[in-house]
């Protein structure tokens, strides 16, 4: 069966896009940037030495699932969420929900999604899609990165849902089980912004928030010494571009989406100065895009001399300085 009244929409990011579509389907009129902002989705973390990562890496959004938890606290929405150890049980649960007419989001490794063009397929374990039907051995899927509904064979869906590795999906599913008729937007927006400012400025962990950006700026000059060879180094440097721009980031490491949220929030909570913050963050986002392109080009051209890493370090310190100032002022404005 196919859930007929589900409206497929493209989105800037897979998790916030899936949440938006499911909530819209359940009757809540809310935009993707608003969900991203209320749930304090914007973030930064740099991981130089972590067991789960073979090479230093960074994140530009909070961890998968956190957006839903924050949204539950601030809007009253309740999600049903479940992980599975067993593939058969995971498939049966998804099939049962679809048969009941409940569109259900599931976490997958993007690499196994047959409808993704081969040149775009990479192993990313934290992609979210919404299953809205199943006919025979094929699921009907709403993937917010694609303009139309797509088909996905059961075998591929199971491979994607039960892929191994860092942040493995574990067959995870979710859907909204309760959506309130209304909620206090003003309060939710203010709390969302305050928490985002806390994440960026005040987390007492040296590799998160602005501190993480500064650590990234400091440590990136060590990358050539850590990489196995030039090929490996160029691959890792080009991944900067993928993480900031290419794989569902909302653009410029989510800065553009957060700017859109601030713009929408300014109207709702009647705080016109948030529009100025939105404009400023768009410009900050442009800077991240410039940094991303710089990394991508030197990676692609194998132009990886120490001067280039120094330049990247300088650009990152610049980003950190701008965002530190930005979030400090935003925090004062919203308090």
């Amino acid at each position: 069966m196919i859930i007929e009244n589900y409206q497929h929409k493209m989105a800037a990011h897979c998790e916030s896009g899936s949440i938006t579509s499911l909530l819209n389907h359940a009757g809540m009129k809310i935009t993707e940037p608003m969900i991203f902002g209320i749930s304090s989705g914007i973030f930064f973390g740099y991981f130089h030495k972590m067991k789960s990562f073979a090479f230093p890496t960074f994140i530009v959004r909070n961890k998968p699932g956190q957006m839903r938890k924050n949204l539950e606290k601030r809007t009253g929405v309740k999600f049903f969420t479940k992980d599975f150890k067993n593939q058969t049980a995971g498939q049966e649960a998804l099939d049962l929900l679809i048969s009941k007419g409940i569109p259900t989001a599931t976490q997958v490794d993007m690499f196994y999604l047959d409808y993704v063009p081969s040149w775009e397929r990479v192993h990313i374990n934290v992609h979210f899609i919404v299953a809205i039907g199943k006919e025979g051995d094929v699921y009907k899927v709403s993937d917010s990165y694609f303009p139309k509904l797509v088909d996905l064979p059961v075998e591929s869906m199971n491979k994607g849902r039960f892929a191994q590795g860092s942040m493995s999906p574990k067959g995870s599913i979710f859907y909204p089980r309760y959506v309130p008729e209304t909620f206090d937007y003003d309060k939710a927006i203010r709390k969302g912004i305050k928490k985002a400012c806390f994440y960026m400025l005040s987390l007492p962990i040296p590799f998160l928030g602005i501190k993480g950006m500064k650590l990234f700026a400091k440590k990136i000059t060590e990358w050539p010494a850590i990489a196995r060879d030039t090929e490996h180094l160029s691959h890792e440097v080009m991944k900067i571009n993928i993480l900031l721009e290419d794989q569902g980031t909302g653009g410029a490491g989510f800065r553009f989406m957060y700017a859109t949220f601030l713009q929408q929030a300014s109207e709702i909570i009647n705080k016109p100065e948030l529009k100025d913050f939105a404009r400023e963050l768009m410009e900050i986002g442009d800077g991240w895009r410039e940094f991303s392109l710089f990394a991508a080009k030197i990676g692609k051209n194998r132009d990886l001399g120490p001067d280039k890493f120094k330049q990247m370090s300088d650009l990152l310190y610049q980003r950190a300085g701008l965002e530190e100032d930005f979030f400090k002022r935003l925090s004062k404005t919203i308090n």
Partner: protein
Amino acid sequence: MNQVVTEELRTEIKNLIMETLGITGIKPEEIDDDKPLFGGENALTLDSVDALEIIMAIQRKYNLRIADQNLARSVIRSINSIAEFLVSEQGKHS
């Protein structure tokens, strides 16, 4: 910019892409207007780094911002999709 997609606009886009990426040896008329610019079907074969560079060049030249990266991906699918996007953006501001 005109309100409809013109051959002039398509050529302008092709020249912008070639200048931005430093491509020589291909004439604008050799680039198919409708075939994808990615995946090897067109005279131009681009990758994701080229895509980002083109997005930024388009932003600079036409003074607009393509913030959503999924929108960006669909915009730069082909010469025609870029041209249609530019015309629609122009329509919004006219």
